[in-house]
Subunit: 157 residues, 2 copies
């Protein structure tokens, strides 16, 4: 199992690290952190109470946002593994992915006031296309699943 | 063509109007407003600069959030039409929808610094299930398409 000391998003080049959802250079944003652990990716996030949907639950837009950023981060991580890039011994990765398609299925209300866990698993890589399957859970219960098709940017390959 | 003076979200019952994306009772949120115009729905939103993705574009999580809230609002509007509820002569509608599934396809970067336009069209209604197809455009160019399956809550029917 790989060390999870470095978040993928913290390895993005500075000029590509402004995303509201996960950029280390966006002080206003969520700063989601995705870690590669073994052959999966993992991230955690505890939503602020203002991100409500119906009272007591997290609004779907935030669930989609977290899955989107965890998805592109996971895609970058899996692409690095496929290219034998050692994530533990680099300060910047030459891979940045953007979303082509995101599907979110809401399985149960996402409860407010608890830490959410996102898990990503690689489905396949074909050239610059990377498919990742995800879950978003609270207290061990899957609240949403996500499927992303991410595209590796050419300029950083 | 129907008068677009009342937003669907402003007709939600007060206890179901706290959504961060579109609730009139959430002062911290986006307060997206969806209007029924003819047989389509429309909403507009101008993102703040902090909601960046790569510099110059809007992050995907916000695009997904807007499509999610416009989708559930559109579903509520179309359900009201199907049930012959006159949106212009009511203060509260007895219909509130939640998202079962949302798919977003990103067609082009969503530019920052311009008003975005969301359009919704009813695909079908089967019982409590409502499917809506959407576009999100900037300056007449479609940046993303969305498909939502929304479910009408039982408690308000």
């Amino acid at each position: 199992m790989q060390n999870k000391s470095k978040a993928i998003q913290d390895l993005y080049p500075d000029e590509l690290a402004h995303c509201y959802g996960c950029g280390k250079n966006n002080p206003f944003g969520y700063q989601l952190k995705t870690y590669l652990v073994g052959d999966e990716t993992i991230a955690h996030f505890t939503p602020d109470e203002k991100f409500t949907a119906l009272p007591g639950s997290v609004y779907g837009g935030l669930v989609a946002s977290l899955l989107d950023c965890h998805g592109t981060g996971s895609a970058a991580a899996f692409a690095c593994v496929a290219e034998n890039i050692d994530l533990e011994n680099t300060e910047t990765i030459p891979v940045r992915c953007v979303t082509a398609s995101l599907k979110v299925d809401f399985k149960a209300p996402t409860p407010m006031g608890t830490e959410l866990e996102l898990i990503g698993k690689l489905r396949s890589i074909e050239g610059r296309k990377i498919w990742v399957d995800m879950t978003l859970s609270a207290k061990g219960i899957i609240c949403a699943t996500g499927e992303i098709l991410a595209i590796k940017l050419k300029s950083n390959v």
